[in-house]
Symmetry: C2
Subunit: 426 residues, 2 copies
């Protein structure tokens, strides 16, 4: 008896699934109780079907989801189409047809995961999605199994390969943002519309899913503050370097006494921090916890084979669960009431870059002092556009304080706040 | 119904188990189907029992293993005594009494794991030992579950915290080996007899266990070549730094066409290699694989709470398996015939440090040329003892070639081979 699966979509990741099954067939066949066979593949239309046949793919391609849903021999549906619809409808129908589902659809799971998990539970089938977060890093199952005995207090992640590639070039080669983006697009790392990657949206989706596994809390995407890398200048990069930091786009979840503080933002990491050396398109998740203390999981965040490998790991787990007649298992059982941190409990030191339009250094110092800021470092220099630029490392302040400063400077004619980035580990 | 467990031993790690169970009780109670309770604890003798009672420990301490073995309410025995005997006998008897066993005993599992796993299998009980390798890094279960779909081709590990602390000080602070050892002993990282840590024996044990999980091969400890850090000098450290490398004690397993090449040795890692920044007492396992490509798992290698956390993760897994009446599970199912690589297939570039007693640079160059070595870098300098010292970066050679060179230089009056360290990633 084999485990018959259907793929929805046959793009880059989906076409990697048979590659992994084939290239690692010796090990996989030893470790699954039911061999995995691809029974049907849903493609968009007749012309895609024709094109794939012409490319030599010898699968049973179908264009109607019902051919999969009504096929009782198929016990697992693997959704690799991406986007919200029709993926959401198809997954829902598959679960309702008592089929287990594997997906790599980060956006969908971040936005509608709770709803889909409820459908899976009601129908007593499993819904696994290891590949949805940091493709090649097996962080979700590790959090749900190996780290089950530990209590995570803080999670920091470099979670977006495209923006990390760009920042690595900006830091190590002194490239501008524009040059880095252009190169990332030429190399195929960034899409023509790079918004999701460079604005921290992609990383924010990942934090929603990671919050469930690491903290047991299902938070709303809208509760994740996100700030992108588009405003980072060579001056910012230099200040960071001169003060022993590296700028990274960091997604963070921290449990405070009132709840989770969740955000994605450019952040200054001490050079010695393990995340500071995660470069190019690589991703990593760094954890603080009461038991292990400090740990990090590092690997590629995307790519055909890494992502397909995570999909196949989910399939192998299912193969063994189905063969053992195990009850359908929840991917993650950790569940607490969700709470978002009060602004008062969300604290950090910051790096400010402030343009002095009409104000003097003395006036700026006075202004900051009134806001409770005693600069730990203060650099004044002419920016490339000839303006006076104050670059400041602050003491630890609350988000409340930060928002108040931002508001006041928005209406100031003397000073303009160019950038405010967190400093981590200070 | 609770899962009743017995601890064998109540040293540092064992006394951490109730700490983790207590400090993380909210999460643990939600995630186990049967709460875990410590039923009995085996201690050495009446005086240890008395001392622990006086310290305020309110457990049922016993001094006779039979009180645990004959107690049908106890379903899990947690061996945290260390050393080979009586741990081996006690684990065997526990398995034969149909009790599941959790252990953190690296030496025992490396030397006798196969035998103990056979006993577990025959008695249809589980034998888990996540804490036995790199205490706080959940690498074994990750290899057995999340990485099940991937084929590992090479494993590199910084696997011993004590030697890594010493090397970090030698590299970053320029300390001598002796000063580093003395400090490690003062800080409690190194024992008064540091042999197992500084000679690579501890790391070699870990490689035996990692070989099973990463490559499916049960190799003999005697097949692991190990070389320690005792001969590393400031000259070696400087050469490495000047050529863009960091010296680490690296445990490696590589699958060659004839089998596994397994060794622990001081190695030069490129500065940009993820392992190069694993400092102080931290450990890491770095993997190359056909699916994910490149990944790394980083955390503390030892310590009370990290190790106890891994023990509790094993206990929670057992709690849920016992509650579900699951069949006893093997910790690792991947199993292939063991093969050790031919010397010819074991290839690497090397760093040589050679003292010129009577020979000239020209003669040394001639000698090396005859052995198939074209130096990629050649530095000649006076050592602190006033001798001429040649430091050489070689091309890639085989272990056969290396052994031949070592033999010839052993009898040479002109040249003495002080150190030969692998260069990784060249």
């Amino acid at each position: 008896m084999t485990l018959k699966i259907a793929l929805l979509g046959f793009g880059t990741v989906a076409s990697g699934v048979p590659i992994i099954l084939e290239q690692n067939s010796e090990k996989i066949s030893q470790l699954v109780q039911k061999p995995i066979t691809i029974s049907k593949i849903l493609v968009r239309d007749a012309s895609e079907k024709k094109r794939l046949k012409e490319q030599g793919y010898d699968y049973h391609f179908v264009t109607d989801i019902d051919e999969i849903l009504s096929d009782d021999d198929i016990s697992v549906v693997v959704e690799l189409m991406g986007r919200i619809e029709p993926a959401k409808t198809f997954i829902t129908k598959a679960l309702e047809s008592k089929k287990h589902v594997v997906s790599a659809n980060k956006d969908l799971i971040a936005l509608h995961g709770k709803e889909l998990l409820d459908v899976a539970r009601q129908n007593n089938v499993s819904f696994y999605y290891e590949a949805a977060v940091a493709g090649g890093i097996p962080i979700l199952r590790t959090l749900a199994t190996s780290l089950v005995a530990d209590k995570i207090t803080k999670l920091l992640g470099v979670l977006n390969g495209t923006s990390n590639f760009m920042l690595t070039k900006m830091v190590e080669e002194g490239w501008t943002y524009d040059k880095a983006l252009q190169t990332a697009q030429e190399l195929g790392y960034a899409e023509s519309d790079p918004t999701n990657d460079v604005e921290g949206i992609d990383a924010a989706y990942k934090l929603v899913i990671l919050s469930q596994f690491a903290f047991g809390m299902t938070i709303d995407y809208k509760d994740v503050t996100h700030q992108g890398i588009t405003t980072i200048t060579p001056e910012d990069v230099n200040f960071a370097q001169n003060h022993g930091y590296v700028i990274k786009l960091v997604g963070s979840i921290e449990e405070t006494k009132s709840g989770l503080a969740v955000e994605v933002s450019p952040s200054l990491l001490p050079e010695k921090h393990p995340l500071a050396r995660v470069n190019d398109v690589m991703n990593a998740v760094y954890l603080n916890s009461i038991g292990i203390g400090e740990s990090m999981y590092y690997g590629p965040g995307a790519g055909q084979k890494p992502t397909a490998t995570s999909v196949v790991a989910d399939l192998m787990t299912l193969s063994n669960e189905v063969a053992s007649n195990d009850q359908a298992k929840l991917f993650n059982n950790f569940n607490r009431p969700s709470k978002i941190a009060d602004l008062e409990d969300n604290q950090s030191a910051y790096y400010f870059s402030i343009a002095l339009s009409n104000g003097s250094k003395a006036e700026l110092t006075e202004f900051l002092k009134n806001e409770g800021i005693t600069p730990k470092a203060f650099v004044l220099e002419k920016s490339s556009s000839g303006k006076n630029l104050a670059m400041i490392k602050t003491n630890v302040i609350t988000k409340n304080q930060l928002e108040q400063i931002e508001q006041k400077l928005q209406t100031s004619t003397a000073f303009q706040l160019r950038n405010a980035f967190r400093i981590i580990g200070d």
